[in-house]
């Protein structure tokens, strides 16, 4: 199996789906000649031509809105939003239109659309090139939200998203793009949406996470193992719908749950995970349900000391896990 980076895996998944299905096309800002500002779509323009790799005008609501129209009549658009921070001008199209088309038409119309966007911080991108936006959509029925944390998942979940008959938001953490490599199958496979993955088995505490910070959790779990603390780590992978069964069984296994995400805490995805556990597995708990998340400030600043202060790191994660274990 070839060893691929996260960004390569996404590229490969896109390219494979485009090759397999000529209804699939890509549109967005700088996705064509330039191959995307992060280079995810690099080479696709040359491979599939400008009709299927469309450089759009700088207008996110149109990018999504045009994609919705094309999806409605049978195409399979994959729209790129250059940074997740810039998805907000398209909020109305995503929430009022894409998410509601099937329901409002009583199942007559549908919207098989993928919106890809790089999110997350730690690249000196300051307030507007660092945000996590998943919580703004997690509340919306009709949408699915994918946040893969590994190259193999990224490819498999992207392929699942493209084949999905409903709109999928596909959020790619920028710090993951070139962070790690792993074996990624070349053959046709998907990783189904809606299924979490146990990344590590343990008996003392359960940590539920997703995206880049999952890797901090795994590193922290390694450290704690040497202190005799074993950790069950669940990677949510899909944030809507959440994998209730996996969440509840991971919570029950140790009775001590910590939820970790980079996004700020209040009304974040962790709130729903916690509420689900508090509703359905309360009596299996031996400790309060803890959350470790970004601080309640509008977004991370540029100045390196402030960016560091905002972001989680292995230290902060290890401390929170140790504290829970000792509870």
């Amino acid at each position: 199996m070839p060893v691929r980076q996260y960004i390569e895996a996404i590229h490969d998944g896109l390219s494979a789906e485009m090759a397999a299905d000529d209804r699939v096309f890509v549109l967005g800002e700088d996705v064509g000649v330039r191959g995307g500002v992060f280079r995810v779509t690099s080479g696709l323009f040359e491979q599939f031509g400008e009709a299927r790799v469309v450089d759009t005008p700088l207008a996110e609501s149109a990018i999504v809105g045009v994609a919705i129209g094309a999806a409605a009549v049978g195409m399979r658009p994959v729209a790129e939003i250059q940074f997740a921070d810039f998805i907000l001008p398209a909020m109305n199209q995503i929430v009022s239109e894409a998410a509601k088309m099937r329901y409002r038409s009583n199942g007559d119309w549908s919207c098989p659309l993928v919106v890809r966007a790089p999110y997350g911080g730690g690249i000196h991108g300051a307030l507007y090139h660092s945000q996590s936006v998943e919580a703004l959509f997690a509340h919306v029925p009709g949408l699915k939200i994918a946040t893969p944390a590994t190259p193999a998942d990224a490819k498999g979940m992207l392929r699942a998203a493209i084949r999905d008959p409903d709109p999928v938001l596909f959020f790619e953490h920028k710090k993951l793009y070139r962070l790690l490599k792993e074996d990624v199958p070349d053959e046709d496979y998907i990783v189904p949406l809606g299924k979490a993955a146990v990344r590590r088995q343990g008996d003392d505490i359960t940590v539920i996470s997703y995206g880049y910070v999952l890797h901090l959790v795994l590193e922290a779990a390694d450290r704690l193992a040497s202190e005799g603390i074993t950790t069950e780590v669940l990677d949510l992978r899909t944030l809507r719908p959440l994998d209730e069964e996996a969440i509840l069984s991971a919570a029950r296994k140790t009775g001590k749950v910590l939820i970790v995400h980079e996004d700020n805490k209040v009304a974040g995805v962790g709130a729903e995970v916690s509420a689900m556990i508090a509703e359905k597995a309360l009596f299996d708990l031996d400790a309060p349900i803890a959350r470790l998340a970004g601080p309640e400030v509008p977004a991370m600043p540029f100045a390196p000391p402030l960016e560091r202060a905002y972001l989680l790191d292995v230290e902060k994660v290890t401390n929170a896990m140790r504290e829970l274990a000792r509870f």
């Binding site: 469309v54 809105g65 045009v66 009583n106 199942g107």
Partner: protein, 334 residues
Amino acid sequence: MTETPRHRSYGLTDEQVVEMYRYMVLARKVDERMWLLNRSGKIPFVISCQGQEGAQAGAAFALNPKKDYIAPYYRDLCMVLAYGHTARTELLAAFGKPEDPNSGGRQMPGHYGDRSRRILTGSSPVSTQIPHAVGIALANKMRGEDGVAYVSFGEGSSNQGDFHEAANFAGVHKLPVIFFCENNRYAISVPQDKQLGCINVADRAIGYGFEGVVVDGMEPLEVYRVMKGAVEKARAGGGPTLVEAKTYRLVPHSSDDDDRAYRSREEVEEAKRTDSLVRMKAYLLENGVLTEAEEADLVAAIQEEVNEATQYAEQAASADPGTLFDHVYAKEVL
């Protein structure tokens, strides 16, 4: 009467022009019935096409329902009738009945949609359908199909960002799409001079690199002529056109509105004299396409159709509460 009547010189047969008139009357009668039902407490809401039937009929006849998708807005009752809906489908919608093909009674009346008839499903937030039509046009172009996409909206709605972004996208990619603005001079209570910085909505087209045309929307045949040109151009690869039909809304914005708060009765009465139904009838009589008796029969038949539809819709089964959870997502994935 040595001159060719206008409709023939525009390429419409006598049958077609009568048909056009029939749709206009049908739309008016369905619309009037809904107001009656609303005022008698039988349906909670109406939003009207009255005053805009002629513009819609003219536009509809320039399109080919076998290949051209439409993304109508909430006043396009006459348009969707010309696209195959009926008094019955629309009254089913008015009563919120599951048999309604627009939304199975899930949306308010006036929220059209029907995949089998190439009517895109619409929502309430205005102008969102404009980029959708551009996306349909893009799909047509990508697939090498010669269908045209048609989208309509009010003049107030032309101030939304989505109009601008979509029109520019279509201009850059020279897509086969017609932007049809039904300018009825008001956006609820706000008159056009408080809505539009410009004189004509059509003036905006140059900002997207294509043609903008103003047409008297109370003259169905003129609308047909202009639309026909735009459709032919789009089908031939010539790109988009923005057509602005100047119309007037003859009734309040909706059943929840009271238009006396913002416009004079004189203005409304004045506008009624330009009503396309009145003008079209006169034209058909004058040109010997229809006799008074035939016209009366036509109206009577429609009245009958509307009565039957009302009865049918009222008696149709109500939605089963158990269906609330249907169609949030596709049933089967992969």
